[in-house]
């Protein structure tokens, strides 16, 4: 299936936006789905010397030969530079050897705290979500954190029901106060927008809204009063090169939303 460049999906735009968060030579704690694709695009294009770390114990610096459905699929081992214990890769993270990590979640608030545990009262939850996995560890320990999730007023909320993965807590100084050694969110990438964080106030600030919709729509679909950055602009569209590389890796759009999947 050859698709047109202009025919990018929002999932593809999110992957490309995420890939641009990876700088060359960086050590990346890679999550599954979109972050994995983002790592593959970055690796092939602008960050050829980046290194990918997976929490199951895999470290690799070349893309996998096949699309992965999970990080433990056998193609993820072939060509890896290290297969080891989770404790060793989490040790790298805790030591401060990981530049950027990606996580998903069900809710995020304006200080970048992420909930992937409970909707409603955690003691009598309305919805029990799958849980942290490694997300809370990545959010605690990576030098930078990128949060990727669908946009919506019930997703981007004033205050998360449960703080699974710590962002900036209640604002400036909080991470240092609770003892987190470094880090904090640097971006939120949704299917509508890209937020970055104000270093002074630790709040999410809208930097880009995706094409095919208005800034107003983003604001209306966000559960907190949106601060818009000076010079905020539409998200740059994926280049032909970015789409080519991404589609080589995921031709059927398994993770970029071209294949329909319910109740994620």
């Amino acid at each position: 299936m050859v698709r047109d460049v202009a025919d990018w999906s929002v999932g593809e735009l999110m992957v490309v936006a995420a890939s641009r968060e990876i700088r060359d030579g960086e050590v990346v704690f890679v999550g599954m789905r979109l972050p994995l694709l983002a790592y593959c695009v970055a690796k092939r294009l602008h960050a050829p010397r980046s290194v990918g770390i997976f929490e199951n114990g895999i470290v690799r610096d070349v893309p996998t030969p096949q699309l992965l459905y999970t990080m433990s699929d056998t193609p993820n081992i072939v060509g890896a530079v290290w297969c080891t214990r989770m404790a060793n890769v989490m040790g790298l993270l805790q030591r401060g050897d990981v530049d950027v990590g990606f996580i998903g979640g069900a809710q995020v608030d304006r200080f970048g705290n992420v909930n992937s545990s409970y909707i409603g009262d955690p003691h009598h939850p309305q919805v029990k979500l799958p849980g942290s996995g490694g997300a809370a560890d990545i959010a605690s320990l990576a030098k930078r954190l990128v949060v990727i999730l669908p946009h919506g007023r019930h997703r981007l909320v004033q205050r998360v029901d449960f703080r699974t993965s710590p962002g900036y807590g209640d604002g400036p100084g909080w991470r240092q106060r609770v003892g987190l050694p470094r880090g904090g969110p640097s971006a939120i990438i949704t299917d509508r927008a890209v937020f970055r964080f104000d270093p002074q106030t630790c709040e999410a600030v809208l930097h880009h809204w995706h094409p095919r919709q208005s800034l107003q729509e983003v604001v209306e679909n966000t559960g907190w009063p949106v601060r818009v950055a000076d010079g905020a602009s539409p998200t740059p569209e994926p280049s032909a090169e970015e789409l080519r590389v991404l589609r080589e890796y995921d031709p059927e759009g398994v993770w970029t939303g071209n294949r329909n999947r319910a109740d994620r």
Partner: protein
């Protein structure tokens, strides 16, 4: 404790019967999405085990199945769901509606599970971490405590040790005494093996001891720590085993769709667990699909010589 005089090479039925009593704390799914001992989970369900505590980082759908079958009282896991297909329906029914029975969840993270098992393996009561500080995850005081580094006064989180009653672990090959080779991503397998009172191994192949001893760096743990070895080819389907078979992605998708309702879950369980006597029958039911998953591209490891 030393080597057991009687043979350790037993059927899966006997291994589960002897080493997984009602109420046991069981660690499984330690490599994360690969080498998940589904065959053992299914045998636990067939034997109607109750009130288990399940421990693991994530388990793909294995924990979902055991929870749905009513075997589980408590889960200590960082993530329970269906990794490639979405959430775990049985897990949600149990935690949200108490169906078929309520399940207590101890929130944790992957690293915290690794540290708890590492503490158990090392024989210390806890290990410290800088992770999860400021997170709501470490709410339960029996598992987590805040503390200060005595040298600097900086906050630390202490993660309490877990020493499970039994670790059920899949390996590529084992000798009859439980000296086994495992390769691929290791997850928390080594820590789980060393932390647990009993270890049950599910081996794709049972090999002569000389094969294992020829490469002692690849051994998971010494046989004297292993209680039972089960020869169980295909025991990890639908999860993958490097060198043996690929992941059956579609099977997870099918499970996801089939188990949306409680009736659907019951039906799935009948078809794939309760009606089948053992793993061999399961693989026969898979049929040609199973053969296809074993068509692999070779990737041999470079030779190594322990010449002396």
């Amino acid at each position: 404790m030393g080597p057991r005089p009687d043979g350790k090479l037993v059927s899966l039925r006997e291994a589960i019967s002897r080493f997984v009593p009602d109420g046991a704390t069981v660690v499984m799914g330690t490599c994360l999405e690969s080498l998940i001992p589904f065959a053992a989970g299914h045998e636990i369900i067939r034997q109607g085990r109750r009130d288990l505590t399940l421990v693991g980082p994530i388990s793909d759908v294995l924990f979902d199945q055991l929870i749905g079958a009513g075997c589980v009282a408590r889960v200590v896991a960082a993530w329970v769901g269906n990794v490639s297909a979405g959430l775990g329906h049985a897990y949600r029914r149990a935690t949200e509606q108490g169906v078929p029975r309520p399940v207590e969840v101890q929130d944790t993270s992957n690293f915290a599970v690794a540290l708890a098992l590492m503490a158990g393996a090392l024989g210390v009561p806890y290990l410290p971490t800088r992770s999860l500080l400021g997170s709501d995850v470490p709410r339960q005081l029996e598992a987590f405590r805040l503390f200060e580094d005595p040298w600097t006064g900086e906050p630390l989180l202490l993660v309490r040790a877990i020493q499970p009653d039994v670790a059920i672990l899949a390996v590529q090959r084992s000798d009859p005494e439980g000296n086994a080779h495992l390769w691929g991503n290791l997850g928390v397998t080594e820590e789980a093996a060393l932390a647990s009172r009993h270890v049950v191994l599910l081996a794709e192949e049972v090999v002569d001891p000389s094969v294992i001893r020829s490469d002692p760096n690849r051994v998971l743990l010494p046989g004297f720590k292993v209680s039972a070895v089960v020869h169980c080819p295909g025991g990890c389907h639908p999860s993958p085993v490097p060198g043996y078979y690929r992941r059956d992605h579609a099977f997870y998708e099918e499970y996801h769709r089939a188990t949306r309702t409680e009736e659907g879950f019951r039906e799935w369980l009948r078809t794939w667990v309760l009606e089948l006597p053992d793993r061999q029958a399961y693989l026969q039911r898979l049929g040609a699909r199973w053969d296809a998953l074993r068509q692999l591209q070779p990737a041999p490891a470079a030779p190594v010589d322990y010449a002396w």
